[in-house]
Symmetry: C2
Subunit: 328 residues, 2 copies
C-alpha cells in the first residue's frame, strides 16, 4: 500500500527522493488545477532545496479560450517570481507523423516542447502533475486495450528526465490544497468530453467501480503497487538470465530457446531498446523473431526495415541498420 500524505505537508512523502536539491526543474504548466498545485508545491520547497524552477506552457491553440489559460500562467509565474516559457503550437518545430488520437498528438507535442525547454536550461528534471486518479485511469486504458503486466503497473514516478511528484496525491487532496492556498486555475472544457477514452473511463467506469465498492480506489493503488513489485522481480530475474547467455559472439541460441517465454520476451525487448530501435512490443513481433530463431534456414532477418537479426549455429544478435543518404 502506497502511503498518503496530509494536505498540510509541503511535499508528499517520497522515499526515493525524486526531487533532488540544487537542481533545475522544468514544470509542465497547463494552468489547470493539477499543474497549478504542482508549481506551488515545488515553489514552497524552492529555498529549502535550492531549486531553480522554470515553468513551461504550450498553447495548443485548439480553442479560443486557451489564451485565457496562457494569461493565467503568465500572471501566476509573475507573482511567484518564476521564469515562464510559453510557446504556441504553430511555432513549434515538430513534424507530426503520428496517426494516433488528437489527445496523443497533443501529448507528444508537449513532450517535445518540455524537452526543448529542458535542454535550453540544462535542466535535471521535467516535473509533470499526474496524480492517483490519472494512475487509475491509465490502468483501465491499458486494461481496455489489452496489456502486459508492465502496462498495468501504470505511470512511473520517475521515468528518464520526467518526475511526477504528485503521483500519490488524490484529486481531492489537490483540490483541497488549491482551496486552502486560495489559488486560481483554469478548467479545460475538453476534459469532460466523452470523445476521449480517458474521459469515458473517468465519467463511467470509475464511478461504476466506486459504486460497487467504495474502497476501490484504495485497493487499486495497493494492487498496482503489488504488480509493480512483481514486474520489478521479473526485470531483475530476466537481467540475471540474460547475463548467463550473453557472449562476445551474441546470445546463446540454445540457452535462449530453453528459457521461459516471459524471459525470452523481456530479453528481446532489451536487445531492441539497447540498439535504439523504435518498435511497438507485440505478440506478432515476438512470434516473428522466435520463428526466425527456431526454424529459418536463413542467417539474417530484417524487422521494421531498420533492424537486422543475425544468427549462426550457436548465437544470435540484433543490430540497427543505418541508412546512408545517397545525396550526401
Amino acid at each position: 500500500m502506497l502511503s498518503r500524505r496530509h494536505v498540510s505537508d509541503p511535499l508528499p512523502p517520497d522515499p526515493n527522493s525524486i526531487i533532488q536539491p540544487h537542481t533545475t526543474i522544468i514544470v509542465g504548466l497547463s494552468g489547470g488545477p493539477d499543474s497549478v498545485c504542482l508549481l506551488h508545491v515545488l515553489c514552497s520547497q524552492k529555498k529549502e532545496l535550492n531549486l531553480q524552477i522554470i515553468a513551461a506552457h504550450l498553447d495548443h491553440e485548439w480553442q479560443e479560450s486557451s489564451k485565457i489559460a496562457a494569461e493565467l500562467c503568465k500572471n501566476m509565474c509573475n507573482n511567484l517570481g518564476v521564469d515562464l516559457v510559453i510557446k504556441k503550437l504553430s511555432e513549434l518545430e515538430f513534424d507530426v507523423k503520428w496517426n494516433g488520437s488528437q489527445e496523443e498528438v497533443g501529448r507528444l507535442m508537449r513532450r517535445h516542447f518540455f524537452q526543448s525547454v529542458a535542454q535550453q536550461y540544462q535542466a535535471h528534471a521535467i516535473a509533470l502533475a499526474h496524480h492517483e486518479q490519472d494512475q487509475h485511469e491509465t490502468f483501465f486504458i491499458r486494461l481496455l486495450r489489452g496489456s502486459s503486466l508492465k502496462g498495468l503497473t501504470g505511470i512511473q514516478k520517475k521515468d528518464g528526465l520526467y518526475i511526477r511528484p504528485l503521483l500519490h496525491w488524490s484529486k481531492n487532496q489537490i483540490m483541497q490544497y488549491l482551496h486552502e492556498n486560495n489559488l486560481n486555475y483554469y478548467t479545460d472544457q475538453t476534459n469532460t468530453s466523452d470523445a476521449y477514452l480517458r474521459n469515458r473511463i473517468r465519467n463511467h467506469v470509475i464511478p461504476a467501480l466506486h459504486a460497487t465498492d467504495n474502497r476501490f480506489e484504495k485497493n487499486l493503488t495497493s494492487t498496482m503497487s503489488q504488480l509493480s513489485l512483481a514486474h520489478d522481480f521479473i526485470e531483475q530475474q530476466t537481467c540475471k538470465i540474460m547475463q548467463t547467455m550473453t557472449t562476445p559472439q551474441g546470445i546463446n541460441i540454445a540457452l535462449f530457446l530453453d528459457t521461459h517465454t516471459v524471459a525470452q520476451q523481456n530479453i528481446l525487448l532489451r536487445l531492441l531498446i539497447m540498439c535504439g530501435i523504435s518498435f511497438t512490443p507485440s505478440q506478432k513481433l515476438f512470434n516473428e523473431i522466435m520463428r526466425f530463431l527456431k526454424k529459418s534456414s536463413k542467417n539474417k532477418h530484417t524487422l521494421y526495415q531498420n533492424c537486422l537479426i543475425k544468427k549462426d549455429k550457436n548465437y544470435f544478435s540484433i543490430e540497427k541498420l543505418i541508412k546512408i543518404d545517397k545525396n550526401l
Copy 2:
C-alpha cells in the same frame, strides 16, 4: 490470446487435455444454463473418451423454487442415463465456522459436497461450469478487494481435483449451445440481485467497460493470459531461488533476506502450504514473519496458534504445531 471454439465442436480446444480418457468425472450440476451445458458437452464425449460421468446436485433450500431445479436435474440425468447424487443442505455433515457472505458459505458447502461424492466414486476430477464471463467477474472482484498478481490471473482451468472445461467459452456460446441442442435449464433469481458483489460487477461494471470499448472482453482475456504467464515465470524463478537456500537445517537466513521481496513472499507462502497450515496471505502476515527473522532476539515465534517459526543464527524453518487432545 486464448483460442475460442466454434459451438458446433463437441469440446473446446484444450492444449493441456484437462479431460483425460478412461476417468470418472463428477459434474457439479446446479440445473442452471452453464452446468447443463457442461453436463451435455461431457456426455457427448462419454463414449469416445470412455468417461464415467456422475452428476452432483446440492439443494441449497434457500428458496422454495430450488425444488424445481432439483427436479429438472433428476429428469435430465434420467434422460441422459447419468447417475445423479442429490443432497439437501440440511443433510450435509459440515460444520460452518465461516464468517463470509452467504455466497461464500454456499460455495464452501458445494465444494464439501462435491468432494465427498468424488471420494465415494473414487473420481479423478470434479468438473465445474465456470466460463469466460465468470473469469472476468473474478478479475474485478479481486481488483476491487486489492489483489496480488496471482489473484488477477483468475480462476485456474485445473486446480487440484477441479477442472473447468468451459473456462474459454463465452456466455453467448453456452446459450447458443443450449438453444441449438434444445436443452432446458433453470434460472436462479438470486443470480440477478445486486445484493451480491459478483452481480453488481456483472450488472454495472462490465457493461460500463463494454460501453467504453467493445473490444474490452477480448482484450481482458488476452491481458489475463499475459498475467498468468508472468505469474508462472515468477513461480519458476522462486522455485529455483528457494532451492539455492534450502539446506537440511532449514532456509539460509542471510540468503533469504538478501533476495527480492516477491521471492521472499512466495517462499514463505510455499513453506506455509507445505506444512499444511491454513492461512490468509496478507501483507501483515508477511511483515510479522520478516520482523521476526530480521530483528527478534527470540528463536521461536508462533503464528495462528498452530504454526511455529524457528530460527537459529543461520537457518529458519516453519512447522505445524499438532494439538494433542487431552481427552484421548
